[in-house]
Every structure is written in C-alpha cells, then in structure tokens.
Symmetry: C4
C-alpha cells in the first residue's frame, strides 16, 4: 500500500481530465466555414457572423464547465475521505458534464429552437442536482473532517436549491421566447462566478 | 532520483488520462442532426428520437468505462510496486478501452445488427480478460504487499470468470435476437456497480 | 483536510490537461486527402503539397501553445498560494487557448485571408494580455513568496508589453500583405523560445 | 515556492496528457461505415473487412505511442533535474508524437502508397532521433544523478542508433514493395517491447 496517498487524489485527477477534455472539445463544434477555395474579406466576415450562435454557445458552455470545475475543486479540498457512493455520484456528475457538448452543439445550430434549449437546460439541471447531492452525501456521511467543510456543505446545499427552478423556467420559457432561456443561461454562471470570488484564498 | 516517488503514480496518471479521454470522446459520435437551417419543435423532437440508439450506446459505454475506472483505481490502490510486465498488461487493457468508441458508434448506428453487437461484446470481453490477468499477475508476482490486496486479488480473479461466458452469450445471442445482447450489456455494468458499492471506504 | 496539499496542484493539473488537449487536437484539422480509392505517388505528393498551409498553421499553433505551457509552468513554480481571482484569470487564459484550434483551422484553410489572420492575431493577443495580467495580479496580491518570483513577475509584465502591439501590427498588416502577419506569427514564438532558454535550471 | 515539488512533475504530467490523448484519438480515424440505414450481416462483415488497413494502422500507432510512453517513463524516472533545454527537446518529441495521427490516417487510407508509408516512417524517425538526443543531453548536462541513470543513458543512446537506419530502409523500401515498410513498422515496436521487459522492477 502506498503510504502518503491522498484518498481523493485519483478521483480529482480523473475528474480534472474529464472536465479539461469537455472544455476543450467544445471548440470542435465550430467548424471552419467552407464556401470556396479562396474567400474575400466580406465573405469571411459574413461566414464568421453566421457562426455567432456557435460562438455564443461555446462561451456559455465554457463558463458552465469552468464554474463546475471551480466548485468541484472547492468541494474536494474539503473532503477528507472517499467512498464508493461518492465516487459513483461523481461519475454521475461527469456523465452529465461529458454530455454537455451535444446540447451545446444543438443550441449553437438551432439557437431559437425550444426543444434544443430545453435539452441544454435539462442537462445543466441534472448536473446541478447531482452536485448538490454530492455535498449532501459528503456532509451526511461525515466525509468532511473540518467544521469549515460542514459549514460550506450546508451553504452549498442551500444555494443548490436555486438552480433547478431556474433551469425549469428556462426550459419552459424557451417555448414562449428563446430569449428567456438565453438570459437565464447567461445569468447562472455569472452568479456562480461572483459567488466563487468570495471563497477564501487557497480555497 | 526522486525520493518519495510512488512507483505506480505515472501509470495511474497515464491510465486516468486515457480513460478520461475515452469517456469524453464517446459524445462526439452523437452528431447534431442537420435537416434544415431552422427546425420546428416537432422536427427537433423527431430528430432526437431518431438518435435514441446513439444515446443508449453512449450511456452503455460510459457505464462500462466508469466501472473499469473504479476497478482500476481499486486495483492500483492495492499495488505496491510496478513491473514492465504489469505496465504492458495495463497497456493492453488500454488498447481495448481506447478502441471502445468504435464498437460504440457501430451499435449506435446499427443497434440491431448482430455483427456490430458481437464486435462490441468481443471488445468488452478482451478488456475483461486482460483486467483479470492483471489481478492474477500482480498476485503471483507478489506486487501486492498487504493481505487485503491478496484477498481482493483472489476475489477479483474469481469474479472475472463470470464476464467472458456472458459476453460470449451476448455475441452469439445477438444473431438470434439483438435484445439478448442489449440485456446482457445493461446487466453487466449494473452488477459491477452494485459490487463496487460494497468496497470499503477509502478503497 | 489533506495535509501536504500544494494549493496550486489542481489548477496546474487542470491547465496541463487543457493545454495537452489543445496541442493534440490541432492535428485533427489536417484531414486525410481523399481523392480516389488508390492514389499514385504523384497524386499523394500533390495532396500533401496542397496541405502545406495546414502543416504551417499546425506548427505555428503548436509552438504558441508550447511557449504558453513553458511560461505557465514557470509562473506556477513561483506562485505560493492560489486565490479565486487568480483561478478565474487562469480560466480566462484557458478560454483563449481552448479557442486556438478554430483560428488555426481558419488560417490553414485560408492562409492569405486577412480576416482569418486578424482573428488568429486577436486570439493570441487576448491570451497574451490575460497572461500578463496574471503576473501582475499575482505580484500585487503577494501570491509570490520569494524575491525570485517578484523579480520574474516584474520582468514578465515588462516583456508582456511587447506582444499586443506586435499582434496589432499583424492584424492590420494582414490587410495589406498576408506575409506581414505570417512573419510576426513566426517571430513571436521564436523570441519566447530563446527567452525561455535563459531561465534557470529547475525553473 | 513549493517545498517538496519534484522538478520534473509537471513535464511528466503534460507529456502523459499529450501521449494519452494521442493514443486515444487514433480510434477517431476509424469511421463507422455508413452504407444504408440498416446493414445485413454480410454487409456489416464486408464493411469491417474493408476497414482492415485502418485497424492495422491503429494497432501499429498504438504500439509505437505505448513504447514511447514506457521509455519516456523510464527516462524521467532517472532524471533528477529539469532544464529549459530538456523541456524544449521534450516539446519537440511531443510535436512528432502529436503529429502521428495524420500519417496513421494516411497509411490506413492508402496502405500501399509509398509516399504515405515514407511519411509515417519519417515522423517515427524524427521522434526516435529527438528521444535519443534527450538521453544524450541529459547525460552530458549531468541531469542524471545516479550511476544507474548514466548507464541507462549510454545504453539508450547506443540502441537509439538502430532506429534511424531502419526507418530509412522502410521509407525507401516502400517505393519497391510496401510490405518492406509494414514489416519494419511491425518489427520495431516488438523489439522495444521485448527490450522494455528486461527493465528492472519499479523502473
């Protein structure tokens, strides 16, 4: 047996790998426009303009995966031990996050299609719910050694209650006006960004 | 020479990388449906419905790779030293797992084709056999320092005998009814999931 | 809580993952030429010759990502602690670097199109500015424990002032003669390569 | 500054990432055959049979990257310190290895085309020469602390002389009979495989 092995080291490494790949694969959905062999300046600008929804969905999903990575990092910093249950909850989280490139491509291709927007919404909702369950599980099972961890877990479970209703509004709202969904999709990572800025140094 | 180097650290890092990439690449096989420039709600739903076999094969292969990752993690936690033979057995395991996206795409594209299902079956059988050989090798070569490790190795080699006959039944059964293969493909990761839930904390 | 956890370990691991994937994905833009089922020697050579701009843009972006990796490595070697602000600046850097495969594909496909060249220029400018901000931020916030780090930060912020004007010249020059942009794109990584060769051993 | 930082840790992590991605991307070149919506058994078998050269080139490149990984692991195990020069030699090695998927796809698509085979040959020759230079550099610069390392370096530089002539024969031989190149491509990783089996435990 290894001596100084951190029990969570490999779960973190595997999760880092998956999140790094997801965040990097997103750009593959933005294909080079191929019109003629040689494009004029105006054709090139027009081709880029037509890709706007793809750039927007790329930015959005990048922001979501980055937010998940920051919070995942924060979570495992507070975890003292690992259990099979936590690993499988983490695998379920990775399942939702691995799937993100598909709804990202859908809303990039059909930015005003309510079905595409609802799908994007539901995948993020799934990831959010599972992550909240991870905090709850770790707290209940006593995998957090410190009082700092217990306090953070309570706060995370509380703030995790905001996400699902918002995503539900986005999914339903998309059928009335796509802008509702897009507005919520932009607001949520901004909220988490500002939230994470208040985490302590060396969090 | 590095002092505190864990002898298995880099093999674990490389394997984590490969498994993380395989599990994340699987989604690339699910291509955005492209019918018209703008899809109606019903066309979008119909397009998603037509992708059902791709979603199913994605979920299945995700589950298999996740199960292999959990067991691989468990295995290397019990290994005290590395040898060239173990590294090459591990490379052979990674070969089968790296190949998984191809049969996954095949059964996603042709979900009732017996040749595709038999191929999927045989790749998983290969991975399962090599992993059982890894446990056996590590046990025989004394690479497991603790009695916990030796006990786990015996159990793993024993339970490794169940997989190959099941995969063989799936491969042959696919030629009679594709449902036989799909049922077995779903049952095996579920079995390993429940099995891994009984592993000790910090496993 | 883990005891000996290096506060920057997971940020480095995640960044390493992202950079490793970006640098490896670049080759995917070079597609196998598919003319007939069987190519003659001359057709194969001609097909490779036609891919020259793709090879050139591959080499260029490889060099840029490699330079960023070396400097990123140097940066985090000098950082003693992490803060949410630094993590988000790092995420912003990764956003620009994750996007690199797209402008790389654009200049590989349209090597003399000024819009494509300006886009490539601006993405690199963005990455360069964010990286300079990271040095500045780490210095101002006292995240660098040693005097070596403080000295390196000042030097990095100073040398970071050279990049943006050069990229601006490349972006504007591309509209007059594409060769101007290409010359600057080749010169910048060479400069950073020679610069990094003067870093101390074990940097 | 971090205290217990292994100077080579991040170079190893980055290289592991790149090699893991290269080895996993290879399978993406094997595209699902798409003939009709539903394939008969015989059509599916025939489609797989037509993919034989792609499977062969996948296996070959997998073996090469695996061999490079094993030797890279062995190399960095013996390295006590890092220098900018060694990092850039390593980057140059990664450049050749990152490029491998392209010639792999070429020989998978055109298995008897001498230009494709010569390209594959030259990329491997490049990687082999750079790796030999890395051993030489590390030895000359005294980056190997132990006598074991110095001995291994001498042996590696010596055995590194065998590769380039063989690859040159493969490249030239391909213009006379493609089988010459394929035979050499198969023999070299087998040689390195048997060679690496004699490395000491915990190498």
């Amino acid at each position: 047996m290894k001596e100084a092995a951190k029990p969570t080291a490999r779960v973190e490494a595997f999760s880092d790998g998956v999140l790094a790949i997801v965040i990097t694969l997103l750009v593959l959905e933005i294909r080079t426009p191929h019109l003629h062999d040689i494009l004029s300046k105006h054709e090139a600008l027009e081709a880029l303009r037509l890709l706007t929804p793809k750039f927007a969905s790329f930015l959005l999903s990048f922001a979501y995966v980055a937010v998940f990575w920051v919070n995942h990092h924060h979570f495992f910093n507070l975890i003292a031990d690992i259990s099979p249950g936590l690993i499988w909850l983490n695998n379920l989280l990775l399942l939702f996050l691995c799937f993100v490139p598909f709804p990202t491509a859908m809303i990039g291709e059909y930015p005003s299609n309510p079905v595409a927007l609802a799908l994007f919404s539901m995948v993020l909702m799934g990831a959010g719910i599972v992550f909240t369950l991870m905090w709850r599980y770790a707290y209940k099972r006593g995998l957090m050694a410190s009082s700092v961890g217990k306090h953070a877990a309570k706060a995370a479970v509380r703030s995790g209650l905001f996400g699902p209703p918002l995503y539900a509004i986005a999914a339903i709202g998309a059928f009335f006006a796509p802008g509702i969904a897009w507005a919520i999709f932009c607001a949520v990572p901004l909220f988490f960004f500002f939230h994470s800025m208040h985490l302590p140094e060396g969090f």
